[in-house]
């Protein structure tokens, strides 16, 4: 079961990170270059900070959803399915955003802008990062940047069945974004241009849309998979029912 969880997290991160390339990739490359000899260490620290931040977010979101979900469950038996459907829709939205077919999902990014405005002075303190510790903290704060990809992954993770599972999934998500981020930090601009070509983005976005659709269909029992569990709290990742050892 953990394997499936890790798998879906990695997939989200890996496919979604074509989005990160433009947002953060170039920036982290620039900061990496500014750091000179410690470039690799700085890049690692920055990304470690980011991943930790995601895991923490997962933990919090998982806790909230599990707690309130159990409560709501008593009023509305379909709560688990609805929550997971929202997550799936967000993933589809993210896929649409990455392919460039529909950009509406970016509107949820504005939700977090208030938080970011308050965080900004702190971020500025670490810009540009001078030591690996700076980079680590910068990464931690950067993880809070209002980002549609993070939000949709978070919603997906929150329904994973418990705070720990959510945290695991978000950490896996962070790991999934790592290749793209490292490649651009250390590989520079040329590679970044390549990865951002429309073809790559369409491919990655399509995968996300596919995952989202599949999950949506299986939640509502259209295709075999799962969807027969009604307890959000005990229901693991949306696809857990398929693996023989999910429980």
């Amino acid at each position: 079961m953990t394997l499936t969880l890790l798998g879906s997290g990695l997939l989200l991160g890996l496919m979604g990170s074509t989005h990160c390339l433009g947002m953060c990739g170039g920036l982290s490359a620039a900061l990496g270059a500014a750091a000179g000899t410690q470039q690799r260490l700085m890049a690692l620290a920055y990304n470690l900070g980011r991943i930790c931040c995601y895991a923490l977010l997962g933990l919090i979101a998982g806790g909230i959803v599990t707690g309130f979900g159990d409560l709501l469950q008593q009023w509305l038996p379909e709560t688990g399915r609805i929550l997971r459907s929202v997550a799936a829709l967000l993933v589809i939205g993210m896929g649409l955003f990455i392919t460039g077919w529909w950009l509406g999902v970016s509107r949820i990014e504005t939700m977090g802008s208030g938080v970011w405005r308050r965080l900004q002075p702190m971020v500025r303190h670490f810009l540009p990062p001078r030591t690996p510790v700076d980079a680590l903290l910068l990464g931690g704060l950067w993880g809070l940047l209002p980002c549609g990809l993070v939000y949709s992954s978070l919603s997906w993770a929150a329904t994973a069945g418990g705070p720990l599972q959510s945290a695991t999934l978000m950490a896996a998500f962070g790991l999934g974004t790592l290749p793209a981020m490292l490649v651009t930090t250390l590989g520079g601009q040329e590679l970044q241009h390549r990865l951002r070509r429309p073809f790559v983005r369409k491919l990655a976005g399509s995968v996300l849309i596919g995952v989202g659709l599949w999950s949506l269909l299986s939640i509502w029992g259209v295709i075999p998979g799962h969807g027969h569990h009604h307890h959000a709290a005990h229901d693991a990742a949306p696809h857990s029912g398929t693996a023989p050892h999910a429980h």
């Binding site: 990695l10 947002m23 620039a30 970016s106 980002c147 073809f199």
Partner: protein, 805 residues
């Protein structure tokens, strides 16, 4: 697009398009209003600005390098660009050569050629795969270069003006990329293979714990993703390109096999049950990439032989301006008629005529001849030659795309315009073949679906993989390209592709004498005036008669001191005549020049100068044999070829030379018509003739021969008519040419036989369900690889066994 507009239409931070919803959310950065694609980008930019780090935006790589709007090709319509890269032809069309990135198979050629030919105004399109070069001509009133380039870009190939430098750069980049992709695929497929072996072994031993099994399957999935997405990219992209243009290429079945195999496995992994093919898919990618990498190496190797003569030219030239002062100007602005000064050791910027005093120039880049050539005022100078130790002054005759340098290059490229029939057929069949393969796989699946649904998928997958016609597509072009370039590097230019079909069938070789077997640098060995005139006066008269003649004899008399003969005409094979100061002079064969019988004063090659039919002087000319003539002739005879010597010379030297060298047949005093008749007679007897010649009077014969070779010192016209051209003085290259012809035919046949035989045997086996997908992948890739490697054997030029011993 103006800069201000672009700041508002694409995201300032990441470069994506700005959606309407975000259009109002601008920020002010460094005094300019900029827009963003999403709130996140906007916030990041704000943070960066507020942190005082706007220099980051200046520091990061120019996004402007890669604009995607068609506007980028506007520069190609600028006059300065056009002068350098675009040639105006005599038929009113203009033509240029583009370097296209992203080509890798015969189907790409087909796609580009067909796509461009549909454009209004475009007349001819020729694409050369090994040099990634596209030669295109169009009507300047109807179309523009920028339109053509945009059209090329629209189907996914990046055009830029062709130069060997750029070619090499792009080839290096491609190879580095392929190597990286190969590395990922190699390492990954090894891991996936290990997992597959583990699963397989476990099945044999009665199964493993399910969680272990799950772990291996998931690990295989994750390991396969980078291989499919990154290493498989060339195939996916190639397939996509073909589909988009509705002209499926060889990549399509490959991509379909990869994607289907992977998706089916991913589905099975997700479901926790069902067959997985990660090992087959990743190995398929790895093996195909290996083939593609080798092919790319071979292509790069091949094209490196054709040095870019353009790159030899200097960037600037020094000319006299209107006031007679020296000024330095960019090469593009140099005009015909300019007087140019070339410093010692500098490269000549244009074709021209030497003024003032003698000079010595090195034309090695053009001819392969490493000795400096002596030039006198009035002599032609060629762009790309290097000036010797004295500054020289010249008048510009031709620049840019009209240079003789360019002619040589165009000739070199002509070869592919006349693709051998077999290669044309392969190009045309690619698309049909691909569709057939897809249909066949579909039918296989359907068939098996009724017999044994459980096996239907993998059997169809095997058929798809096994029947990919890559080897067939590579068989001929790879061999011809390699063979041509190997010769080119040895100083032998093959200018018509049809040569490869004729070469192995040659039975007879016909030589011209002067300039072919001999150096062709005829010198005046002796002057014997018979009337009262002095030797100097006679030489001056002869020189005046020969002005403007390209016959090798003309050079012996040097440049005319002053006057030039009027009404002068060449009488092919006999000599020249003309009027000087009202008197009619003839120079040439005694029977032509002099009325009545006269005997030459001794042995050797004597020509007569006569005034109104009255002999006034004898000249003895001397022309040394080329150093390697005797050895070459002997080796050709060893090969069983019949040799013929046809010479316009009348002297007994022809007979002597023929006996000395052991020629089977010789004819002296042959006029061009005689030569042609001789050749036609040979061909009438069923002989296949290779003709080697150099002069204007050889042109009809060169044209009629099955294969014709022009010597390096041949007249321009002779060179354009010949199938092959020696760039250096070595006659012995003929041996290499003939032998390369034989070897090339053999290798093409081997390749075709292998590719066809493989498909014929493998296809039924696969359809019968006897070939597992991994085996199909190995078989198909190995077959392509074999074809490429076999063709590469032509890289090394060999001499016939007899000539080496």
């Amino acid at each position: 697009m103006s800069e201000a507009a672009s700041l508002l239409s694409s995201c300032f931070h990441c470069g994506d398009a700005v959606p309407p919803a975000m259009a109002g959310e601008v920020l002010e950065i460094e005094g300019r209003e900029v827009a963003f694609c999403c709130p996140a980008c906007r916030m990041v930019a704000m943070t960066i600005r507020d942190s005082g780090l706007t220099s980051y935006y200046r520091f990061r790589d120019e996004r402007g390098d890669k604009p995607t709007t068609p506007a980028r090709y506007d520069a190609f319509d600028q006059p300065a660009f056009q002068r350098r890269w675009v040639r105006r032809r005599s038929d009113g069309l203009v033509e240029t050569e583009l370097l296209l990135e992203g080509m890798h198979c015969a189907a790409c050629i087909w796609l580009i050629e067909h796509h461009l030919r549909q454009l209004p105004g475009v007349r001819e399109v020729q694409v050369n795969l090994s040099e990634q070069r596209c030669q295109v001509s169009w009507e300047p009133d109807v179309s523009r270069l920028s339109n053509i380039c945009s059209a090329v870009a629209a189907i996914g190939y990046q055009p830029q003006p062709f130069s060997a430098d750029r070619l090499e750069q792009s080839q290096r980049a491609e190879q580095r990329r392929l190597l990286r992709q190969l590395g990922v695929a190699g390492l990954g497929s090894m891991q996936v293979g290990m997992a597959a072996i583990g699963l397989y072994a476990a099945d044999l031993q009665g199964g493993i714990h399910d969680s272990m099994r799950e772990l291996l399957r998931w690990a295989s999935l994750w390991l396969s993703i980078p291989i499919v997405v990154y290493s498989g990219m060339p195939f996916l992209r190639g397939a996509w390109r073909g589909v988009k243009a509705r002209r499926p290429g060889m990549d399509l079945p490959v991509a379909v096999a990869i994607v289907l195999g992977f998706l089916a496995s991913a589905w099975a992994t997700w479901q926790g049950t069902g067959e997985i093919y990660y090992d087959s898919v990743t190995m398929f990618i790895f093996l195909l990439l290996t083939g593609r990498y080798l092919e790319s190496r071979a292509r790069a190797w091949s094209s490196r032989g054709g040095t870019d003569l353009n790159a030899l030219l200097p960037l600037a030239a020094t000319r006299f301006d209107a006031d007679g002062k020296l000024e330095t100007i960019p090469l593009e602005t140099l005009r015909k008629g300019d007087r140019v000064v070339v410093a010692a050791g500098q490269t000549l910027p244009a074709d021209g005529i030497l003024l003032e005093r003698d000079a010595s120039v090195n034309e090695a880049a053009l001819t392969g001849e490493f000795m400096p050539v002596h030039k006198q005022p009035g002599d032609l100078l060629t762009a790309g030659a290097v000036n010797g130790d004295q500054p020289l002054v010249m008048t510009v005759e031709a620049t840019g795309a009209d240079l003789r340098l360019q002619m040589v290059q165009r000739l070199a490229r002509q070869a592919e315009q006349h693709k051998p029939l077999l290669a044309q057929l392969a190009d045309r069949m690619a698309s049909a073949f691909v569709i057939a393969v897809l249909v066949l796989s579909g039918l296989t699946w359907l068939g098996w679906h009724f017999i044994d649904p459980g096996r239907a998928f993998w059997v169809a997958l095997s058929v798809l993989v096994v029947s990919c016609p890559c080897a067939l597509g590579l068989a001929t072009p790879m061999a011809l390209t390699t063979a041509t370039q190997a010769l080119r590097r040895q100083g032998l230019l093959v200018t018509r592709g049809a040569v490869w079909e004729a070469l192995p069938t040659i039975t007879d070789v016909v030589f011209d004498k002067t300039g072919t077997l001999t150096e062709g640098r005829i010198e005046l060995a002796e002057t014997r005036p018979v009337s009262g005139r002095s030797a100097d006066v006679c030489i001056a008269i002869a020189a005046a008669l020969e002005v403007g003649s390209s016959h090798p004899i003309a050079a012996a008399f040097g440049a005319a001191a002053g006057n030039m003969a009027e009404q002068r005409r060449d009488v092919a094979g006999l000599g020249v005549e003309g009027v000087i100061a009202g008197r009619r002079y003839r120079l040439g064969v005694a029977a032509f020049a002099v009325n009545g019988e006269v005997a030459p004063p001794g042995s050797g090659h004597w020509i007569a100068l006569a005034e109104e039919g009255e002999l006034i002087c004898w000249f003895r000319l001397d022309d040394a044999l080329r150093r390697d003539t005797a050895a070459t002739v002997a080796a050709l005879q060893e090969l069983g070829l019949r040799l013929h010597l046809l010479s316009g010379d009348r002297s007994d030297s022809v007979a002597r030379l023929a006996t000395e060298l052991g020629f089977d047949h010789y004819v002296d005093s042959a006029t061009p018509a005689d030569k042609l008749a001789y050749l036609t007679r040979l061909q009438g007897d069923g002989k296949r003739v290779l003709m080697v010649g150099d002069g204007i009077n050889d042109i009809p014969v060169l044209a009629a021969a099955d294969v014709s070779v022009a010597m390096s010192n041949a007249s321009q016209l002779a060179k354009t008519r010949a199938d092959c051209m020696l760039l250096g003085p070595q006659l012995s290259r003929l041996l290499a040419l003939l032998w390369q012809g034989v070897r090339t035919r053999r290798i093409v046949r081997e390749n075709l036989a292998w590719a066809l035989g493989y498909n014929i045997i493998a296809l039924p086996l696969a359809a019968a369900g006897l070939v597992a997908p991994w085996l199909a992948a190995v078989g198909m890739s190995a077959s392509s690889l074999l074809v490429v490697l076999n063709a590469l054997r032509l890289q090394r030029l060999r001499l016939p066994p007899s000539a080496t011993s």
